[in-house]
Structure formats: C-alpha cells, structure tokens
C-alpha cells in the first residue's frame, strides 16, 4: 500500500472503495509486522480501533460521515485517553490508565476517527530525539539508525511509515516541527490557545500547544478543523471563531511577502541546509511571493529563555508525579519522604530529572529575578521582534533544524548540544505564534524541512502557503525507501 493520506482515505471511504474496518485491519497488521524496528507505538488499541472502525462504517451507511470518519489516526501518548494507558513515555506513568479524555481526543472520537493507539515520545515531552522514552527510542523510517526526532517522534515515525494517516502531537519548543522535518512530513503547531490543552499532560504550560503531523497541509487542515476551538475547561484557551482551514488552501499567494530572518542563516546552519532552504524559498518566488530579509535581533536569547521558562514550569508541573494517587509507586516505602524520593527517582528518567532540578534552581530563593524574570523579559523582546516583523511581512520562513536527522546516541550524552538543536523552533513557542514544517528537500537521502511562521491565529494562511508549495512540488510525496 502506498503512503496514505487522510484526503485519499476519506475519498476511498466515501466512494466505497474500501471500508474503515478493512483499512484498520490492514494497518494493524502492518504495525505488527513493521513497528518493531521503528518503535513508534507504545500501546496499540486493536479491539477499540476495530470497534471504532465498525461504528464509523455504520455512521457512513447512514449518511452521517464527515471528513475524519473512519480515518485511521493515533494520539501522542501525552494525550489522556480514558480507559487506555497514557504513559508519556515514562516509567512513572507506565501503569497510568487515564480516567478521562483529553478534549482533542473527545473531538476526534466525535468526528468518528479511528485511533489505532498511543504514540511513543520523549519522556514527558522533554527532548528532541525521542531517545529518552522509557519504551525505547523511536527510529526514523528513513534510516532506522537515526532518530525520528522529538519529542513527537512516534507521531512522526508512524505517519512516515504509513501506519496511520495522521497523528496528534504536541509542541513546546519544536516537538512537532522537528520530527516532522526529520521524517519528511508536514507538521503544524497552531497558535497558543487555538487548541485546548485539557487532558494533554503539561510539560511547560505557557509553551505547550497541541498540533498534528500529517503528510500534507491538506490533511493537517482537516485535522485542525476537528481539534481547534475554545474549551471552557482551559483558561488559556482562546474564545475565537475557528475558520474552515480547508476552505482557503487554494487561495492565490501571488504578492505574498515572505520574510527571511537573517539571524537564522548563521553559523548554526550547514551549507547544504542553507542551500536546501534557499531553493525552497525560490519555489515561493516562482509562485509570485515577494521575499524580504528581516531581522529578529533577539534570536540568540531564545534558547536560554526557553530552557529556563520550560524548566521552571516543568519542575512545578512534575510535582504531582509523587506515587500517591496514580502512577508508579516504589516498593515498601518506609516513610512519606521515602515514598516521594524513591517513587520519583525510580519513576522519572534522567532528562526529566535534570530539567526539574534546573527549574527548581532557577526559581529558588535569590534567583527568581536573575533567571526566571529575566527569561520572561527576554521572552517579551522575542515576541516584539516577531510583532515588528509581521508589520512588514505576511509569513516568515526559514530552517527548522540545523541538521537532518542525527544518528541515535549522537547527542544523548550532551544535553546542551541537544538543546541547541532547537535554535530555530523555540522562539515560536515563546511568542505563541503558529508554525509549520513542510518537507522541502533532501540531503544525503534524508528529509529537510522548511519552517513557515504565521501571525497570531493565522493558521489558515499558513496552511494555504504550505499547500501551494505542495501543489507546485512533490517533496511531500516522497516516502522512505522500502515503504
């Protein structure tokens, strides 16, 4: 079976070419046979998926199907799924059967989508390679010795390996865009507040946002249509009308101004990467877009600011993982202190513990002003840079990552090097802006991603701009060899 897209499957289901049950069975089989070397799934919910597929087929026979009905997707394992294991890639939650659904999960269920299971990820979404998962690293279907990216590595790999048509994911500092880039896919992180965070296990509350990884912008629009919207259970959710993201995909982009930040084309970027991105930009010129150099002068503050803020917020968010009401509890604790220390130390992985420690330090007495407050001030400067830029341009474009997918274990010993890989993506989370990654080239047979950054709540334009690229080129059609 060729690479599957939501649009294609939806069409096949609508025209009766196949049933949801048939597709689901085939994919479940494929996962059984091929996921061992990819390791994209933590939990496969076979029975549930078939039941959902059956129900979807029934809905369709009654004429009540919509675009996502019967379409096979899966959720990143930090989305709470009632009655199903929700592990966040951690030993701490290796026994956590979530007692409620994330709002996004509810929405997809209501739309009749079929979820095949829960996808592997860096532990608690902290990482850029999905190597820190308690359930083992996720391999890149393009080269299984390389990482699929993180933290939504499982989401990207499962889509790239054609196990599912689309996946939900989350992005705190690039966790959707980077794996999408490494796996040759389309990823979108919407504006902060566009999608409800209710039921998505928090890493850094002011940076986390739910999004998707798909093959195409067209598919991403279909999924975003389902999952977006105000949720009264989420105080940070925006009360804003959700446009039909599919409706504007084919808008003409002639005259569109695309800003290229000069700071992004610096020493971090290899010559080949610069080349690949430059070529992608040329495509846009061919489509009638105007290219303009812009400056985001405080770019170099993004990584330290992001790291501090995310560490501080995560250190508090992780405190509830204490072995008392759910999750892993150590054996035979001798007293309360022992319960806490051993449950947490045994249940949490190294990267998570590092970030908790850093976060606690940054917030500790005497350091608040020097670290946390300073990071939030830097954050404002970064946001202001973008606000100014969007006065001059409609979209900002640039690289997603400094390199293509790196080899497994290459960076695990060097957390700083790992962090620096996020240099192009974290600024967006700090500012809360929407961003996409689309496949725009290859270097040594490994995918290269182009990052597109939009103004607040301008996902429709972002998807339109991405879609136009995908109409004019065929990078999005490329699959890993052998698939």
């Amino acid at each position: 079976m060729s690479k599957i897209t939501i649009a294609e499957i939806s069409n096949n289901l609508a025209t009766g070419k196949c049933s949801s049950v048939e597709i689901t069975q085939e994919l479940l089989q494929r996962i059984k046979q091929q996921d061992e070397k990819i390791n994209s799934f933590i939990t496969v919910t076979e029975e549930q998926a078939l039941a959902q597929a059956k129900a979807a087929d029934e809905l369709r026979s009654k004429g009540q199907a919509n675009a996502l009905t019967g379409v096979p997707i899966a959720h990143k394992d930090n989305y709470c799924t009632d009655g199903t294991l929700t592990t966040c890639g951690s030993k701490m939650l290796s026994n956590f059967v979530a007692p409620y659904n994330a709002t996004v999960v509810d929405k997809f269920n209501q739309a009749g989508a079929v979820s095949l299971g829960k996808l592997n990820m860096d532990e608690f979404a902290m990482g850029s390679s999905s190597e820190s998962s308690f359930y083992g690293a996720v391999s890149n279907p393009w080269d299984t010795e390389r990482v699929a990216g993180g933290s939504s590595g499982g989401s990207a790999a499962a889509v790239a390996a054609s196990f599912i048509a689309g996946a939900t994911a989350s992005d705190t500092g690039g966790s959707i865009r980077q794996p999408a880039a490494f796996c040759g896919l389309t990823g979108i992180k919407p504006t902060y507040g566009r999608v409800s965070r209710w039921g998505i296990v928090a890493y850094a509350s002011s940076l986390d946002q739910a999004g998707v990884i798909t093959h195409t912008a067209e598919d991403a629009a279909l999924m975003l249509n389902v999952m977006s919207g105000f949720d009264e259970k989420d105080s940070t959710s925006m009360q804003l009308e959700v446009p039909d993201f599919s409706a504007s995909l084919n808008n003409n982009i002639e005259g569109l101004t695309i800003g290229i930040p000069k700071e992004y084309f610096s020493q971090h970027l290899s010559a080949e990467m610069q080349q690949a991105v430059a070529e992608a930009i040329k495509e846009y010129e061919k489509l009638g877009a105007k290219i303009k150099e812009i400056s985001l002068p405080h770019s170099q503050l993004a990584i330290p600011s992001y790291y501090l803020i995310s560490a501080a917020e995560c250190s508090a968010n992780m405190s509830r993982m204490d072995g008392v009401r759910f999750g892993y509890r150590c054996e035979d604790p001798v007293d309360l202190h022992d319960l806490y220390v051993r449950s947490r130390s045994e249940g949490l992985g190294d990267e998570v513990k590092r970030r908790i420690m850093i976060g606690a330090y940054a917030l500790s007495a005497g350091f608040y002003d020097a670290y946390y407050k300073k990071a939030q001030q830097a954050r404002r400067l970064i946001k202001n840079d973008f606000v100014s830029a969007f006065n001059e341009v409609d979209i900002i474009a640039g690289p997603v990552t400094p390199t293509t997918a790196f080899k497994q274990n290459e960076k695990t010993q060097d957390p700083v090097a790992m962090a620096l890989g996020d240099v192009f993506t974290v600024a967006l989370n700090l500012a809360g802006l929407p961003g996409m990654s689309i496949n725009c080239g290859q270097i040594n047979n490994l995918p290269v991603g182009l990052q597109l950054i939009g103004n607040y709540f301008d996902e429709a334009r972002l998807l339109n701009v991405a879609h136009q690229f995908q109409q004019a080129t065929d990078w999005h059609l490329k699959s890993p060899a052998g698939l």
Binding site: Y79, V201, T236, A312, A316, R320, L336, A360, L363
Partner: protein, 486 residues
Amino acid sequence: MQWEVVIGLEIHVQLATKTKIFSASSTAYGAEANTQADVVDLGMPGVLPVFNEEALRMAVKFGLAIDADIHKVSVFDRKNYFYPDSPKGYQTTQLYYPTVGMGHIEIELDDGSTKRINVTRAHLEEDAGKSVHEGFGGSSGIDLNRAGTPLIEIVSEPELRSAKEAAAYFRKMHSIVTYLGICDGDLSQGSMRCDCNVSLRPKGQKEFGTRAEIKNVNSFRNVERAIDAEIERQMDILEDGGKIVQETRLYDADKNETRSMRSKEAENDYRYFPCPDLLPVVIDDAYIETVRQTLPELPDAKRQRYISEHGLSAVDAGVLSANRELAAYFETVAESINDYKLAANWVQGDVSAALNRLELSIEQLTVSAEQLGYILKLIKDSTLNNGGAKEVFNALLDGKGDGSVDCIDGLIDQLGLKQVSDTGAIETIVDEVLANNAKLVESYLATPEDKRAKAIGPFIGQVRKAAKGVNPQVVMEVLQKKLSEL
C-alpha cells in the same frame, strides 16, 4: 524587664461558594472521603484550573467591608511544597499581587474602648485536603474533598498587643465574614482557622523579637489560651537569657501549651512563580461598584446605630450586632413593637438562654421573630404579664403551636395566661381574698402605717393564687385602695 507582646494573625476563611476555587466540584461539608474530588482536585496529569467567579466576588466584598484597596489586577502564584494533602505538589495562592490590599477593622476592648487594627492584605488561595492519621494502621489516609475549597487568607499587621486583643480581632473577623455571607463561620467544621504569630520585645525596642507561629487554632477561646501559653513560654526562655527559635508550633488544648511541629519547615523555599495555567485577574471600577451595592449594614455600623438611635448600651449593642442572624432576629422583634430595649432584654435574656441550653442557632429556634414580637406586644398592652409571657415563650420552645403568630392567642387561652387587668374583675378577686383571709387583714391593720408597704406582699400572693394572670399594677392599686378603706 518589661516585655511587649507583638501579635499578628493570619486567618484562613473558607468561602461559602458552591464549588471549589478552580474546579466545579461541590464544597458541601461532610461528604464521604474523596466523593467530592474530581480530576482537577486530584491533580491528575493534564488537568487545568478555571477560576470561580463567586470566589472573586466574595473576596472583593470582603475587601470593601474592611475599607481596603481592591487591586484591579491580581495574579495567582504557585507555592511549591510536597505534602500528601496538596495533590499537585504546589498550592495555588496569591503572593505578589493579592486581590485585596491594605484595610482595617475596629476591635472593642474590655474597657469599652475601640482600637483600629490594620489588615495588610487578604488573598485568595486553595485549601488543602485532610489527612487522617488514625485508623489506617501504619498509614495515613488522605481525603481530598476539601482540596481546592476557596480560601481568603487575611493577614493582620503585627499590631495586636495581647491575647485578648487577638481573640477580639478573630471574633470581629468572624462577625464580618458571616455578616457578608461569604463564610458560614462554623469553627467546628474548620470554616475559619487562625495562625498566630507571637513574639516579645523589650518595651521601647523598635525591632521585633523572633516570632513563633502557632498554626491552625480553631476557636476564639483557644486563640486567647494558645497565645497566653506561648507568651508564657517565650517569657520563660527570654528571662532565662535564652533565644526564641523561629518555628511553627501547634497548640495542645488539653495540656494548654504549644509544641514544636516536626520540622516540615526545614525547607521553606517555596519557589513562588506566577501560575502559567491561569491568567491575571482583571476587574474594573464598574465591577467593584456592583459588589459594593451588595454590602449589608456591617456589625460596627449596626452596633453604632443600636447605641445612638435606639439607646442600647455598648455591651448590649455589641452582643446583638455580632451575629448577623441574631441581629436580624432582634431587629424584626424590635421593629414590630417599636421598642428596642424590651426586645434587647428578651433576645439577650430568654432567647439567648434558650439557644445555649438547647444548643441551637438562631435559625433553628422554634420561636420565630414574629412570634416573639407578638408576645412582647401583648406584654406592652398588658394582655400578658412577664411571667405569662415567659410561659408562652417556653411553650413555643417546647413545640406547642403551629409556628404561626395566630396560634399564640389560642395558646394563651389554653394556658389560662390572659392577664386580667379589668379593675372590676380584680376588685372582685381582691374582695374575695380579703374576705377569706381575716387573719391577714387583722395583722395588716395592726402593722404601723410606715411598714404597711411590705405587709401587702402576702395579699398579692393570695390574689395570684386565686387568679394566675393578673396585672400586678392594677392588683396593687386595688389592694391599696381596698385596704385603705378598711
């Protein structure tokens, strides 16, 4: 060495909202363990808080009642610490930008004077759950029903100078919050808890001494006793030349002493930072004004009005205005007979005695304000005398009658309490008494004139025996007239 006591109180008030501060769980008291703890209260992964509008309104109402600055922008912070009754591993509170700023209240001292005590701030926060340490073998049981209940923490300036002042301050706060209807004031249920910060310093010294904090004192009486015990403890140490350790202590009511808490406070680096799941709470003047419109007459104003407009004594006015329901009851009675003094006597006397004896609150009393008002009216128009009125009152307490005002007349007839005031009727009774008591008459007439006033007593007794409800003034008049005619 002359020591000055310096006390500051931090009072935690549970707001009487229907739901918790950040979740839609019920706050009803007494539910079975963990039946009012939803995913948010349990601190499950992935949950988020949404702020209760009623908690905000009540906090603002409180601020207005104590004449405080209302902060138009307030921010929730996370206070990070580990304890099983705090499921998220942090408490959501307001450190840097509380909703209520500097205000003040007046307390009445024993000598009748008043003293202003400034309130530094009052902020919103969530309550923790409860731990039960007995009954689970070697374990403690955690109940999170209470976790997430909205609190305001009211912080006083360290201006209290004695245990009595502290108790008066606690009482006044209790009065204010129950008046406002923002707290049920039930100390036995933990609706209000008090942390007392106590230190001593040599009289005249500007710097404060080291303070100890006595946590969770839960009654007016215990506030006074705990502070006195702590003052004594600190005095002993200081007079011996020792130093006070800054620490948290608990009051043991049985032993009447404070003891140090196991150092839970060894780490008090709470690493406060603004909660990123919540946004700044912003209110405007229009909102504050709508809340101000809902302020009732507050205890101090009421007390003043009782004194200046209705002539009650300061003490009586104080007692009657302290509790809103009692004040409402009292005012209904007083207004219905247009006699605040008579009403005051009865409410402070028979009514309060009944409440104490039967352990009832005023709302539970089976004699309504309307009923009592009617009874007092009957005293005023001489239908009943005092004794008769008390009998009717007690009958109603016992459950007689149907709760209405109309049934009282029937009750009076039933009990034969109607006071006879008719001169003619009384004359008949008196005549009979005089006729039947020749010996008494003789003895009376033998008494020297200047001692006759006392000698009338036995006749009154006989008249009373003959007919229960007789108007004493008329009896006296008739007796004196008839006896003088003898």
